[in-house]
């Protein structure tokens, strides 16, 4: 509701806006003219999108926006991060306030078909879990009959929670809040017994609690949450740019290209690496970018593994294992599409 006025002003511009505002093939042109990418981010989720105490944005989703900005401008700092709540993230994207939504958003059918947006790529395969206080001596989510659960409103989390409790014949007392921040604070204060959100979010929020070691993440994963980049419908080239940025990160990890060795890899004889890095072929130009589009991306962010480890993996306080997000060759689901 803090952004309620902005949201309604945006709805008003929908009403009085001209037809031209909706021919979306101009997104890349608009971004170039503006000189910066407007990226819808979370602002409150450690590991995914949060400004640090100095005001610099860091996180998994943040790195994606920086990668796209690097591909367009050769400068990963040319991004403006717009913090969005779960309530206004889609309206912000629909109305043009942001060019791309990198805000741990789950790809679902209703969102894909009814909101006028498209999902470009699944960047993180996640699932919903629960966090409880160790003092309650609960070891499984199935023991949570009659428990109070703090949850953020307007998310797939809220719906999955109700479904799970109903499917397992447990009664639920849900306490909903407008932002995840308020929900976690209420959980920390003892207002509810458990907190539920995507598993990656649980690890991120646990770090920020008053006593992280007193909280336990339960083993059950009760839903599929493929976190994806979202763009407006109607601009296929822009969607391709978002999709192939993700593929470039995956292909780089598969081929062994990293931030450290990118200089040497430019001289590689491997035809796949040559095509990826733009030494051969016109792939960058087909997107409206330059031929070294992937080089810029890798120089800015590294490959997918580096992005993962730096933000949510072993190089971060969250220490999440690769799990489903490992490469397909290592038993995970991340599969880079061929650049050719």
């Amino acid at each position: 509701m803090k952004r309620g006025a902005t949201t309604f002003a945006i709805a008003l511009t929908l009403v009085f806006g001209s037809q031209a505002a909706w021919s979306q093939s101009q997104t890349l042109k608009a971004v170039k003219d503006r000189g910066e990418l407007q990226c819808g981010a979370n602002g409150q989720l450690a590991g995914f999108g949060m400004p640090d105490p100095q005001g610099n944005w860091t996180g998994f989703d943040v790195d994606y926006c920086r990668a796209i900005a690097a591909a367009i401008f050769n400068d990963p700092t040319k991004v403006k991060f717009v913090p969005l709540t779960a309530a206004n993230r889609f309206t912000a994207l629909q109305s043009g306030e942001v060019d791309i939504l990198a805000r741990n958003t789950t790809w679902t059918m209703s969102r894909d078909t009814t909101l006028g947006i498209d999902f470009a790529a699944v960047t993180y395969y996640d699932g919903q879990g629960f966090m409880v206080r160790k003092a309650l001596k609960v070891s499984s989510a199935l023991e949570l009959n009659d428990a109070s659960v703090c949850v953020q409103q307007g998310t797939t989390t809220e719906l999955n929670l109700a479904d799970y409790f109903r499917a397992n014949h447990m009664s639920l007392k849900s306490v909903t809040f407008a932002t995840a921040d308020e929900a976690v604070k209420a959980y920390d204060a003892g207002r509810c017994d458990a907190y539920t959100t995507d598993s990656s979010g649980l690890y991120g929020e646990r770090v920020l609690l008053s006593d992280p070691t007193a909280n336990l993440v339960l083993p059950e994963i009760i839903s599929k949450e493929p976190l994806s980049l979202a763009v407006r419908q109607g601009d296929d080239t822009w969607e391709d740019i978002a999709r192939w940025t993700h593929q470039a990160l995956l292909d780089a990890e598969e081929l062994g290209v990293s931030k450290a060795n990118i200089g040497d890899q430019l001289n590689s004889a491997n035809p796949e690496i040559r095509r990826l890095l733009g030494v051969e072929g016109q792939f960058g130009e087909s997107l409206g970018l330059t031929s070294d589009w992937a080089v810029r991306i890798i120089k800015a962010a590294g490959n997918y593994g580096e992005v993962f480890e730096r933000n949510v993996g072993q190089g971060s306080p969250l220490k999440i294992a690769r799990g489903l997000n490992a490469l397909w060759t290592k038993g995970g689901l991340q599969y880079g599409l061929p650049v050719r």
């Binding site: 949201t7 709805a11 009403v15 909706w22 889609f90 909101l115 409103q153 809220e158």
Partner: protein, 388 residues
């Protein structure tokens, strides 16, 4: 003469023509705006229409005054749940704010220096701090000061108080309770009849009779007698602490309490000033005349000053009530499931249809506010000065 009338008629037609043209222009703009919005939404492939009303909601609401289930209830049902929650907190808030506001307003006019200045200090402090901050203060103060579930405070009567809420025993009515209800009604009717009869007798003959205790005996004693005779047809569902939560009893959420307290305290400060203005607007001569007749402080206030002051008080009081109703939408900040939180929050985000949902919410608040001001205007009319 006819020329004068002819000119006046022509001017009247001109006025009507101008007004008709204005209505047409405004109506045309509104129509164009709606059509433009519909076209833009369709062009962007965003779903439109009110079909979402009957779709399954799928989410849970923490306080529901009517039966609601996350698996079978529709978005429309969630709307009614949110609306009832808003009306509940607004209604209770209006009552509480009025009582508190009137007390503080009268206290500020007291001749006792300490009382007057305490009331004044309260008004100045509360009026000048934003309501959202006060609400967050009450919520955190209410939550943090209440004990955890394991160390719930046991209140007299079997109630439990902890940071999940106040749990009071729920009355469950057994078979014979209809007699008690009937006896209560009979007692009230008899009491009213007796009171009117005693009043008429006093007005006609001046005789004061000790009817008060008989009336109390009728209104209270009759139902009590029926209750005993019917065999105590009342079971109490007493709350007790379970593994995770309190089971049994009726739950009063801390979010509800915090919102109610914040709204009431805030609006009471404004109502106190409105009341004080009304009381000061009554001419000094009225008070002096009453004193000359030998009436004393409380009677003067009750019989002379307040009835005249009410005529000045009612219009600004209506504004304060409307403010309270609209301010209840701040429930979003603390998680109380009112109309904005449930409908313009959860439903809007799940369906993605911002334009329809916000339009409906605005229309509902408009209807509630218009209805409230209508009621207050009836009251104002009923107590208006009889102009000669």
């Amino acid at each position: 003469m006819s020329e004068h009338a002819h000119w006046r008629g022509a001017r009247r037609i001109g006025d009507i023509a101008v007004q008709a043209a204005l209505v047409a222009v405004v109506g045309g703009m509104a129509y164009a705006a709606v059509v433009n919005a519909a076209q833009n939404l369709a062009h962007a492939n965003i779903a439109t229409g009110f079909g979402f009303w009957n779709n399954t909601a799928g989410f849970d609401i923490s306080q529901t005054l009517i039966p609601y289930s996350s698996s079978t209830s529709s978005f429309g049902r969630a709307f009614w749940v949110g609306l009832l929650n808003t009306l509940l907190v607004s209604g209770a808030g209006i009552v509480l704010a009025t009582v508190l506001g009137f007390t503080i307003g009268i206290a500020r006019l007291s001749s006792n220096w300490l009382v007057a200045h305490l009331a004044g200090g309260y008004v100045e402090l509360i009026r000048n701090v934003p309501l959202l901050l006060q609400l967050l203060f009450w919520y955190n103060a209410v939550l943090k000061s209440l004990p955890e579930l394991r160390s719930s405070l046991a209140l007299p009567g079997g109630a439990l108080l902890n940071n999940r809420g106040l749990f009071i025993p729920r009355a469950e009515f057994a078979a014979g309770f209809e007699f008690v209800v009937a006896a209560t009604l009979a007692g009230i009717v008899a009491g009213v009849v007796l009171w009117l009869w005693a009043k008429r007798r006093r007005q006609r003959t001046g005789a004061r009779s000790r009817m008060r205790w008989w009336i109390v005996a009728l209104v209270v004693g009759l139902p009590l007698l029926a209750f005993v005779l019917a065999g105590f047809p009342l079971a109490l569902n007493v709350p007790h602490v379970g593994r995770f939560n309190v089971t049994g009893g009726v739950e009063i959420l801390p979010e509800f309490a915090a919102l109610l307290l914040a709204l009431s305290a805030y609006t009471a400060a404004f109502i106190a000033e409105v009341l004080r203005a009304g009381l000061l607007a009554v001419p000094r001569g009225q008070v002096e005349a009453a004193q000359a007749l030998g009436l004393r402080g409380a009677t003067i206030l009750r019989r002379i000053v307040v009835p005249q002051a009410m005529r000045v008080i009612v219009p600004p009081l209506t504004s304060q009530y409307l403010n309270l109703i609209k301010n209840s939408s701040l429930a979003v900040a603390i998680g109380y499931p009112d109309l904005v939180q449930v409908f313009a929050g959860s439903v809007l985000n799940i369906t993605g249809q911002a334009v329809e949902v916000i339009a409906i919410t605005m229309a509902v608040y408009l209807v509630i506010s218009l209805f409230t001001s209508l009621l207050m205007n009836f009251y104002a009319h009923a107590t208006a000065f009889a102009e000669r």
